[in-house]
């Protein structure tokens, strides 16, 4: 009987010090009853999302939407933390693609002579590079996003989709900076893209984001179970960089594998389409060169299939995330 006695004593003490006991007590019971009444009206809900395959989509979407403010904060955390304490800060996020541009411009353009066949070679490369930088950041940083946030995932329940999504957000920020440089360069070269060109840009960007997010979701989830994935992704990114017409023109590929099944396969890669779409948008000097036929309809198709893939990947993610906390 000692313990309840002790509690009672402390309660009495606390109440007599703060306010006259009777009013405080009445006030307290009011709060308690109010809370209980509010709670009684709420239905019981499952503690964690059930992995129903089709039904869960709406729940997942609602969950992520409810956490959009947190998503914004996570993006800002990424960005702020990345260049904190560095004197140049965000400038560094531009240096890397610019150095790459310089390397390719000198090595491929001048030494190997690619620039002789391609007008405005720098703008050509930089439109592809801008798209690729965004893509590779979404996919490779996205892949490790769940493992990198293990501390949070093991301790707090959040819709885990926010972590790959926040990677997309922070990658988009760097992308915007690069886009400003790209548009600036077109202005300097007096080849500013106008009119329907921006349609190519937005369509390609949509394809890139949908596929990028889909891959980031499914890879980040599988990476939890098999850490080899992140190294595999690194290697694949290298391969696919050269499998997209970023630093060489599609014309050259077309010349080699024209009409074969290899060309069809080459054009199935969404990033090939996206790169070509970006070039169509920003590489004004290249209007005369050949593009694959039906590029626009293929982009729309890629977008459609991409949305389906995104949905499938999200469902796989939802299924796999059930055991994240114990596997990390």
């Amino acid at each position: 009987m000692t313990a309840p006695g002790v509690v009672l004593c402390t309660v009495l003490l606390a109440e007599t010090i703060s306010a006259p006991a009777t009013t405080t007590r009445k006030h307290m019971t009011d709060i308690v009853e109010e809370r209980a009444a509010v709670l009684a009206q709420q239905p019981m809900r499952p503690a964690s999302p059930r992995p129903g395959f089709a039904r869960g989509t709406a729940t997942s979407l609602r969950d992520v939407l409810a956490h959009r403010e947190l998503l914004g904060l996570l993006v800002r955390r990424e960005l702020k933390a990345r260049y904190k304490d560095s004197a140049l800060g965000f400038v560094w996020s531009l240096v890397r693609p610019l150095v790459l541009l310089l390397i390719y411009y000198v090595a491929l353009g001048q030494f190997l002579g690619a620039a002789r066949q391609i007008d405005s070679f720098a703008i050509f490369i930089y439109s592809g590079l801008t798209a690729w930088t965004l893509w590779s950041e979404i996919v490779s940083v996205g892949t490790s996003s769940i493992v990198a946030n293990a501390g949070l995932i093991k301790k707090v329940y959040l819709p885990r989709e926010v972590f790959p999504l926040s990677v997309v957000g922070s990658a988009l920020f760097g992308f915007c900076m690069q886009l400003i440089i790209l548009v600036g360069a077109t202005l300097v070269a007096r080849q500013f893209p106008v009119g329907t060109r921006w349609g190519w840009f937005f369509l390609s960007l949509a394809v890139l984001l949908v596929w990028g997010l889909a891959l980031a979701l499914v890879l980040s989830a599988t990476n939890v179970y098999l850490r080899d994935i992140q190294y595999l992704v690194e290697v694949c990114m290298q391969v696919f960089f050269w499998l997209s017409p970023i630093v060489y023109s599609w014309k050259l590929v077309h010349g080699v594998i024209q009409g074969t099944v290899w060309e069809t396969i080459y054009l199935l890669n969404p990033m090939t389409l996206v790169t070509l779409g970006f070039q169509r948008a920003f590489w004004v000097a290249g209007d005369g060169t050949a593009y694959p036929p039906d590029l626009e309809s293929n982009l729309w198709l890629a977008l459609g299939v991409g949305v389906l893939a995104l949905w499938l990947c999200q469902r796989v993610f939802a299924r796999l995330q059930a055991n994240f906390a114990q596997e990390l």
Partner: protein, 398 residues
Amino acid sequence: MARIPVVQVDDVSKRFVIRKEKSLKERLVNFGRSNLHKEDFWALRNVDLEIESGTTVGLVGPNGSGKSTLLKTIGGIVQPTSGEVRLRGRLAALLELGAGFHPDLTGRENVYLNAAILGLSKEQTDRHFDAIVDFSGIERFIDTQVKFYSSGMYVRLAFAVAIHVDPDVLLVDEVLAVGDEPFQRKCLERIRTFQHEGRTIVLVTHGLDQVAEFCDRAVVLEAGTVAADGPPLESLRVLRADFEATRREERERQMQADESRPRAQIVGVALRTSGGAVGRPVLRAEEDLTVAVEIESPTTLRDWSLGIGIATPMGTVLYQTNTELLGTPMGPLDGTGRFEFTLPDLRLGSGDYTVVAGITGVDGSEVHHVPEAAHFAVEADGSSLGPLRTSARFAPVG
């Protein structure tokens, strides 16, 4: 008023698969035979639990009994293998303070981030911001990056954020033992306020005194199942008995390993008051209590001491003494020995008490220990609460 269930744990089991291989190579090599390389571990097994609104429940149990897993299942962090957890109301989990803190961000930025992680909107955080900083007591450093914080400052800020989230159900895992003493007291006070506001608290802790002090109900988990569920007093008794059994087992194993260890045992403890009551006596004011202890030793017991103590039913030891402290060296004992301690005029408050007895070797090693050797009750005049009694006087001054 009817109590409303806020957490329903319905036949929940959780299986962990312990895999011995992790890499792709090993999995490919062992493909098909992978069941040989797996081991099932049931962290929870058929746990049923219903928690009503406004109660404070302590989850206790030995290490690895599934307490934290159960808490994480309630928090939705771990999904049960079978069964279902359902809840209502807003839930906040304090599983690790500052889990969402980023070392490179300032305290201010981290407050917003952590509040968002715990489910607060920006406006709500704005509204509580001053209160949070005030509670944490680190105004001066709020715009410093948290990597320069001391661990105490870190925890203060994290706790301050956590308690300003307005949860209906609060899950707390072993985080109360942080910060310096004044801050700890502040935290405990806040938890009491939460209780008075009708919030539901589920607490995982090894601090059994804390459970006794705070909880209306204690659930003892043992190897993934509920071993006891009820008022803290009864549940803790089950848990302590279990701890004692584990300890005895360990001691017996040690004894078997080491033949030279003394094997003396306390075979009986009897109580007698100076008023003549025996058995489970009731001790009245100004009476003495005599504790008689009988020891049996199959081998010759050398260099030893005999000790007794008085504890509350919660296990808090109030008084302890032994022959060494009393300045009585014990000679060699062979066979049976009887000894008596007399405790004159025990000034204890009303309530039940237990007597603890033990034989200790000269090197401090435990030979035999009986945690609940005997029981007695105290009847006092009802002028005070708590285990200590004195004749208080009261008079207005001035």
